[in-house]
Amino acid sequence: MDYTIRKAAPEDMPAVLELIQELAEFEKEPDAVILTADDLIRDGFGENPSFICFVAEVNGKIEGMALCYYRYSTWKGKTVHLEDLVIRKEFRQKGLGKALYTKVIEYAKKQGVKRVEWVVLDWNTPAKNFYTKSGAFVFDDWCTVQMDEQAMNEYLKNAR
């Protein structure tokens, strides 16, 4: 299949949002996405972009995307975090995912960071196997902790 991997432009964001929604459904959280295409354009393309996005284009249509940004390790300095890598369902198993994954690692290398990182769901065995095979390490003993807006509110009310 012929495809192009390139940096996303603001006008790709509606298609990118579609892919984000598709991934949320795959992860059984269809209502979790509150972000809009306008938010993505504002946050990703200004003077101080919050992320960089790569897309896989097939016949002029966006069929996959990878979104990443810098994090900061107190051991290694700047790192690249891969937040999402999504391929539209009908386009899986055609090499787009691998091409985007490679693009992200290449990007990390060019930025001179010592680490690229991301998270994976424990039940996603094919993904875990793919990552391990490609030289990444899956930490099954580190849990993600999240405090949402409501919990922050509650917490601060009590902490004051």
Partner: protein
């Protein structure tokens, strides 16, 4: 034991003490060799490039604790705050510094209008997990962290060349 302290934003000149704390945590985690960062990196990347923000617990002019945060970007929620490290010097634990730094981080996230503040915890650290849960945080046991280090990056890029 309670002590007089102030929680404030770190300055460049606090970075030597912050690096000491980073090394103390790495030693505690049996990973002292993993710390590749230098003082100059912390100063340049924190205060010129602004890749992170650091808060410190100042006890009579000495830095006895620190919390280091930065923004991340969730494709569901937009900007979030990530707490990378929160460290209190060993001999100062149990004095309230950790709780005060934790409050500061949540307040910083709240003041910046983000929808989430997040961090990671080792599954074996039951005390920390209990503390986080008591403060209203949600432990996502089914999300694993994945790292590809420099060697892994190098190997993948070499394949392309």
């Amino acid at each position: 034991m309670s002590v007089d302290y102030s929680i404030r934003e770190a300055k460049r000149e606090d970075m030597p003490a912050v690096l000491e704390l980073i090394k103390e945590l790495a030693e505690y985690e049996n990973a002292a060799d993993e710390v590749e960062i230098h003082l100059d990196d912390l100063i340049k990347e924190g205060f010129e490039e602004k890749h992170f923000k650091c808060f410190v617990a100042d006890v009579e002019g000495r830095i006895e604790g620190m919390a280091l945060v930065y923004f991340r970007f969730s494709t569901w929620k937009g900007r979030t705050v990530h707490l990378e490290d929160l460290i209190v010097r060993k001999k100062m634990r149990g004095t309230g510094l950790g709780g005060a730094l934790y409050n500061q981080v949540v307040k910083y996230a709240y003041d910046n209008g983000v929808k989430r503040v997040e961090w990671v915890v080792s599954e074996g650290n039951k005390n920390a997990i209990e503390f986080y849960e008591n403060t209203g945080a949600d432990i996502k046991k089914n999300w694993y962290t994945v790292h590809m280090d420099e060697n892994g990056i190098q190997k993948n890029v070499e394949k392309l060349e």
